[in-house]
């Protein structure tokens, strides 16, 4: 199979029903997808999240437009979305369900950041204000919604939304300054 092919070329073959191209895309991006899911919902649930995310992408081929971004970026968005939906569905009251996965929002923000593999992202997050860092990290890696964040931090909803927005904008600028590139 075409290791040298760009994702856009592979995707064109996927859309035509080429199963080798599906396998090649999987081989190229499964580790990133599984790693993100495992971080949010634990390894036990990560496998099913990734499986379902790939199927969602394959079954809704028109939803992905190569002109609007990298395939991996799209896939990881689907993975993250499914992880947070899973967490939010069962987090409030279903303790039995959550015994099969850890709740990532229970970890201290410092621990979450220390566990990241990318030194550039760790450093950029450390440069955010503590309030923005806390809100952004708990929202993205903890899977907390704005309202869940407001409840957790005992802050008005508007304040939380503002911190998330300012935090992500600042992170974007910091990463840009550091030359961190977009997902290939």
């Amino acid at each position: 199979m075409p290791e040298g092919m760009e994702d856009t070329q592979l995707w064109a073959q996927v859309v035509r029903g080429d199963r080798d191209a599906i396998a090649a895309l999987y081989d190229r991006h499964a580790t990133a997808a599984y790693s993100l899911a495992a971080r949010l919902v634990g390894w036990a649930a990560a496998e099913d999240v990734v499986h379902d995310a790939f199927l969602v992408v394959l079954r809704n081929a028109a939803a992905y437009d190569p002109a609007r971004g990298a395939f991996r970026s799209w896939l990881l968005r689907v993975v993250h979305n499914r992880c947070v939906n899973l967490l939010r569905r069962y987090r409030p009251e279903n303790e039995e369900a959550l015994q099969y996965m850890r709740d990532p929002a229970e970890q201290p923000v410092e621990t979450i950041i220390a566990g990241l593999a990318s030194a550039e992202v760790r450093a950029a997050l450390e440069e955010l204000s503590p309030d923005q860092r806390e809100a952004l990290v708990l929202a993205y890696y903890g899977g907390l919604s704005h309202s869940e964040l407001a409840q957790r931090l005992e802050l008005p909803l508007g304040t939380v939304k503002s911190r998330v927005r300012r935090g992500l904008l600042a992170l974007r600028d910091l990463l840009d300054t550091r030359g961190v590139e977009a997902v290939p």
Partner: protein, 266 residues
């Protein structure tokens, strides 16, 4: 909702922090606002960096085999406005059965129909993850492949009922669990065990189904090195089944031995 209000929500949209209503509003606005689309794209660079910053773990080998078996022959080209994962949140959940089973649905378990006059003959095919992988790779038997696809089609149907098999034995790891997938009028059931310890040399895991007051051994559940095993049961839709258990047997048995995992109707 004004343009400025939507713009203030873009960061939350990019990291899945919005409500379903907010998500829908943002998605609708993005379709007609190049400025917001451009800003979202710039924020996505930071989100991509967050996604890629986690420690990289190789996905389990069996996941590849599962995906290739379940992947549609040709991806669906859905005509109409492009959708995003965020926008889809407000629609009917397309979460395949397996995913909901992972976290259980004990509270919403579907009541099983109790009247079933004829007990179906159970034709049992045991498939371990290793077997599935081999089938995927070799595809030497079209009949077998079609049968496996039927079983896996059940797993990905949103109409399938997913019952969690809960841990019943202290000897099992805390995260050991299983799933029982069934759907009325679909004559296929799938029972899965996960994180099961390797049985002893003279032991084996067996799936039992109780219906009409009797226990029927549905078949042996072979587990791979990761403790994963899958049993596909053909010939019955499970509507007459009251209880499913996985037991650890030491030899031939007419009644279930010590139960390690259990799913039962309310």
């Amino acid at each position: 909702v004004t343009h400025d209000e939507i713009r203030d929500l873009l960061a939350g949209y990019a990291i899945d922090a919005l409500t379903a209503e907010e998500t829908s509003a943002v998605a609708e606005h993005l379709a007609s606002c190049p400025d917001c689309s451009s800003e979202l794209a710039s924020l996505q660079v930071a989100v991509d960096a967050l996604a890629g910053a986690v420690p990289q773990l190789p996905a389990p080998e069996r996941l590849r085999a599962r995906l290739l078996l379940d992947a549609p022959e040709a991806p669906t080209i859905a005509y109409g406005a492009p959708t995003t994962p965020h926008a889809r949140r407000s629609r009917r959940a397309s979460l395949p059965a397996r995913l909901t089973a992972i976290v259980g649905n004990v509270g919403t378990r579907q009541l099983m129909r109790r009247a079933m006059s004829v007990a179906a003959v159970l034709l049992v095919v045991a498939l371990s993850a290793t077997t599935l992988s081999a089938l995927s790779a070799v595809r030497h038997s079209q009949d077998e492949l079609l049968r496996d696809r039927a079983a896996l089609g059940l797993l990905t149907s949103t109409e399938t009922t997913n019952d969690l098999l809960t841990r019943q034995a202290d000897s099992l790891p805390a995260d050991a669990h299983g799933h029982w997938f069934h759907r009325p009028e679909v004559m296929t059931q799938v029972v899965v065990g996960e994180r099961l310890p390797q049985p002893g040399a003279s032991q084996r895991y067996v799936v039992w189904m109780q219906q009409a007051g009797s226990w029927i051994a549905a078949g042996e559940l072979p587990v791979d090195a990761t403790g994963y095993g899958r049993l596909v049961v053909l010939g019955s839709d499970g509507s007459a089944v009251r209880t499913v258990v996985i037991t650890l047997e030491t030899g031939p048995a007419s009644q279930p031995g010590p139960t390690v995992l259990l799913a039962s109707s309310p």
